[in-house]
Symmetry: C2
C-alpha cells in the first residue's frame, strides 16, 4: 500500500476491498491470541525457576545472624536493601523492602499521603479541596487507575523521546499548588520505551513547584530490563539530583524483581531520602510487623549464584526476537502507508503504536472480533480516554513468537483497514 | 507471704524488707531476659523449617494448571483458599488470600472503609464527623494502634471469661451510630486466653447496631493454637451466624499461618460474605496484581505432607512447659497473697496477670531495672492507658524455659514488692 495521504478516493476504495479480503482470510483462521499484558513468558520463568528451591531448610540466617523466619525487621534485611541500592545507584539506608508488588508500594505511599500527609505537608492530602496528579501520556494504565481511584484529578502531559514535555510540566507545577505529584517511568517508559534524558531528570529535580510537598513517583520498573547489551539505556540517580537541587524529599523511587525472577513471588522496594524513610516507617510499623524476609534471603542467595546482569541477558535473548518481529512487521506493513508511527525501544516490555487519528478503538475492536486481543485502546491515557484515539499498546513478551507474528500482522491489517475507512469518510 | 489484706502495717514492713532483699539478690545476677512479644521460639521454627525447601523448581502449577510464577489471581490460588476455608469452617469462595501479615489485611480493610466506605455505607468513613471503635480490654496493642492511628476514638469494653461484656456492647452499639465496629479475638483472646462463648458469638451476630455499616474485625489468630489436645477451645462460624441473623455483611474474619509455619514468611487471609468479597476485590485490584502464589503453593504442599493438626501438636509440646512453669510460679508466689488474679489459658500465646491495682507500671519498671523486660504496662489498653494500672501481659513462648522461669520469678517478686508498698501507702 502506498502512502495513505497520496491515494485518491478511487485508489482508497480498491485498497479497502483488498484489506477487507485479507481481514476475512484471517477471520477464517479462527485465531485466539492474547497480546494484552506485559507478562514474562514461560521460557523466561523457566530460566529462573531454580530460585524456588534455592534456599535449604537450614539457610535462614541473614548476614548479621538474624533469624529471617521470625517476626520483625520492618525495613527488610540489609543485604536485600544493599541489592536494590546497587541496582538503583543509591545507598542502602535509603531503601525499604516491600512485598512482591511494587504497585502496592506505590498505592500505599499515596494512601499514606492522603491520610497523614508528607513530611513537608501542612495537612493530610485528603483534607485539600482538590488534588491533582500529572500523568505523562501515553502511560501505564495501572498507575492512572491508582490515582483516579484515590480521588486525584488526572492531568495529561505529552511524552516525547526525552521524557515528559518539561516546558508544560514546569509551567503546570509552578502555577497550581493543588498538583501534588506526577507519575514517571524514566527508563523504557511504558508503553513508548523512551528514556528520560539527563536534562529532563535535572529539570524534574530542580523545578519550582507551587506545592511544597510535591512528589514524583519514579517507577524504575525496567531499570535492568535492556534488550541490547551494547545499547543499554540509563538515567541518573534521581535521589541525589533532587538532593543537590535542594528538593531532597521530592522523589519516591520504586523497583522490583517482578520481571527479573518471578512476577508472582518477587520482592520490591521503595527508595527515598532519610526524612521520607522515617516518615514511611512511622506508619508502616502500624500496618505490618515486617515483610517476608525468607523471600528476601531467597533472592539474595539466588543472585549470589546468578548475577542479575546474566539473568537479564538470558531474558533479552528470549524477548529480542519477539520485539524484532513486531517491529519488522510494523515497518513492512505500516511504514509505507505514512500514517503510523512508533518508537523502537531498547528495553522494557512494550511497543507503542500510533495509528491514524480516530482509529485506535476501531483497530483494536476489529482485531478482537477475529480473536486477537490487544490492550484496550485508550488504556494508556487517564480515564481510558485517548483524546486523539490513536495509541495502541503492543505487549509482545508473553505469547510464543509465532503468535506475536500473527497477532501483529492482524493488527497492521486492522490499522490499515480502519485508516482507509476513516480517510474515505474524511475526503 | 500471707494474704496481703490480712497483714498489719508492721507485718507489711517486715514483708517489704524481705522482698527488697530478694529483689537485690536478683539484681546482682545481672539478668537480661526478654518476655515482651508473642513470638515463636527457635525450636518451633526449626520444627517447620522443611517448608523452606518444600517446593522444587518444577513444582509451580496450581491444581487447575495455573502457573503460580506469573502475575495474576487476585484472590489467591483456590487450594490455598480451601485450606483456610477448612480451618475457619466456611466456604472457599468467602476467602481472599493475603500476604504474610494478617495485621496488614486488617489495616488495609480499615483504610478501604475510611477512603471508600463499606457496601452498606452512605459515605466513606473518613467523611463522618466522628468514628468510634470498640476495644475489648485487656486486648491486643497492635489492634488498638491501627484504629488509633487511623483516627478512630477508642472505647474500652471489659472482657470476662465469656468474651466482651455483651450488655455493655449491645447498649453502646444500639445508641451510637458513630461506633463503626469492634476488635475481637474470639479464641484464646490476647492476652487473657478467654474463649468467646456461643452466646456471646450469637449476640454479636444478632445485636442491633445504630450504624448500619457496623463491622466486627474477627481476628481468629489462634484458631488452631491449642495447648491441650483434650481441651481444645472453639467458637462457632461467625459468618454463618451473622448471615442467619440477617446481618450478612457484619464480619471480616482474619487468620494466618504466622504461628503455624514461620511468622516472617507465612500466608494470611480475610474471610467474609460474598458482597464484602466483591467490595474488597474492587479496590484490591487497584492496590495489587496479586499475592505471592508461589508461597501459597509452598504452604499447600507442606500441609499436604504435614497436617496442621500435627504441626500444632508439635508446637504445643514445646509451649506447654513454658505456660505451665509460668502458671505454677504465679500460683505458688502470688495465689497466697490474695491480690493477684489470672486466667489459665488453654491456647494462644499469653498469660494475662492482674496485679494489685495501681502497681502494674511499677512492677514492670522494677523488673526492667534488673534486666527483665515485659510488655509495657498499659499496652493492653487503648492509648496505652490502663485505668486501674493493674494488667501485665506475660509472653512466655519465645525465651528458653529457664529464662521464663527466672523472669516470672522476678515478676512475682516485683509484683509483691509493689503491692506491699502501695498497701502501706494506703493504710
Amino acid at each position: 500500500m502506498k502512502n495513505l495521504f497520496t491515494l485518491s478516493k478511487e485508489e482508497l476504495q480498491i485498497e479497502l476491498k483488498a484489506l477487507q479480503k485479507s481481514y476475512e482470510e484471517y477471520k477464517e483462521q479462527g485465531l485466539s491470541l492474547d497480546m494484552t499484558r506485559g507478562k514474562p513468558c514461560k521460557e523466561q520463568l523457566d530460566n529462573v525457576s531454580d530460585i524456588i528451591s534455592t534456599l535449604t531448610a537450614d539457610d535462614y540466617k541473614a548476614n548479621d545472624g538474624l533469624d529471617c523466619r521470625n517476626y520483625g525487621i520492618l525495613q527488610g534485611i540489609s543485604e536485600g536493601r544493599k541489592l536494590f541500592a546497587e541496582i538503583l545507584g543509591t545507598s542502602w539506608e535509603r531503601i525499604i523492602l516491600m512485598g512482591s508488588s511494587s504497585l502496592t508500594a506505590m498505592h500505599d505511599a499515596l494512601v499514606r499521603a492522603l491520610l497523614f500527609g508528607e513530611v513537608d505537608s501542612e495537612q493530610p492530602w485528603s483534607k485539600e479541596k482538590e488534588i491533582k496528579w500529572l500523568c505523562p501520556v501515553p502511560g501505564y494504565d495501572r498507575h492512572f487507575l491508582i490515582t483516579e481511584t484515590l480521588g486525584f484529578s488526572l492531568i495529561s502531559v505529552p511524552m516525547n523521546e526525552n521524557g515528559p514535555d518539561m516546558d508544560i510540566v514546569e509551567r503546570l507545577v509552578a502555577e497550581d499548588s493543588s498538583i501534588k505529584g506526577m507519575w514517571a517511568i524514566p527508563l523504557y517508559s511504558n508503553p513508548d520505551g523512551y528514556v528520560y534524558s539527563e536534562e529532563t531528570c535535572k529539570r524534574l529535580a530542580s523545578m519550582k513547584t507551587a506545592a511544597k510537598d510535591f512528589r514524583i513517583f519514579w517507577d524504575n520498573a525496567y531499570v535492568v530490563h535492556h534488550l541490547y547489551d551494547d545499547k543499554k539505556g540509563s538515567v541518573p540517580d534521581i535521589l541525589s539530583l533532587c538532593e543537590s537541587s535542594g528538593n531532597p524529599n521530592r522523589v519516591y523511587e520504586f523497583a522490583s524483581t517482578s520481571k527479573v525472577t518471578h512476577p508472582g513471588s518477587g520482592i520490591s522496594c521503595v527508595a527515598t531520602n532519610l526524612d521520607n524513610i522515617a516518615h514511611i516507617e512511622k506508619y508502616l510499623s502500624v500496618q505490618t510487623i515486617g515483610p517476608d524476609k525468607i523471600n528476601e534471603l531467597r533472592h539474595v542467595r539466588y543472585f549470589q549464584k546468578n548475577p542479575i546482569e546474566k539473568i537479564m541477558e538470558g531474558h533479552a535473548r528470549i524477548l529480542r526476537p519477539k520485539f524484532e518481529i513486531t517491529l519488522s512487521i510494523l515497518k513492512e506493513a505500516l511504514l509505507p502507508c505514512g500514517f503510523a508511527r512508533w518508537n523502537v525501544p531498547m528495553g522494557g516490555y512494550f511497543v507503542s503504536l500510533f495509528v491514524y487519528p480516530g482509529t485506535a478503538k476501531k483497530t483494536v475492536s476489529l482485531a478482537k472480533e477475529i480473536g486477537v486481543a490487544f490492550t484496550p485502546a485508550g488504556a494508556t491515557y487517564p480515564y481510558n480516554h485517548d483524546p486523539k484515539d490513536e495509541n495502541i499498546r503492543i505487549a509482545p513478551t508473553f505469547p510464543p513468537i509465532s503468535d506475536v507474528e500473527q497477532a501483529v500482522g492482524v493488527l497492521c491489517i486492522c490499522a490499515r483497514l480502519s485508516a482507509v475507512q476513516k480517510r474515505l469518510e474524511e475526503l
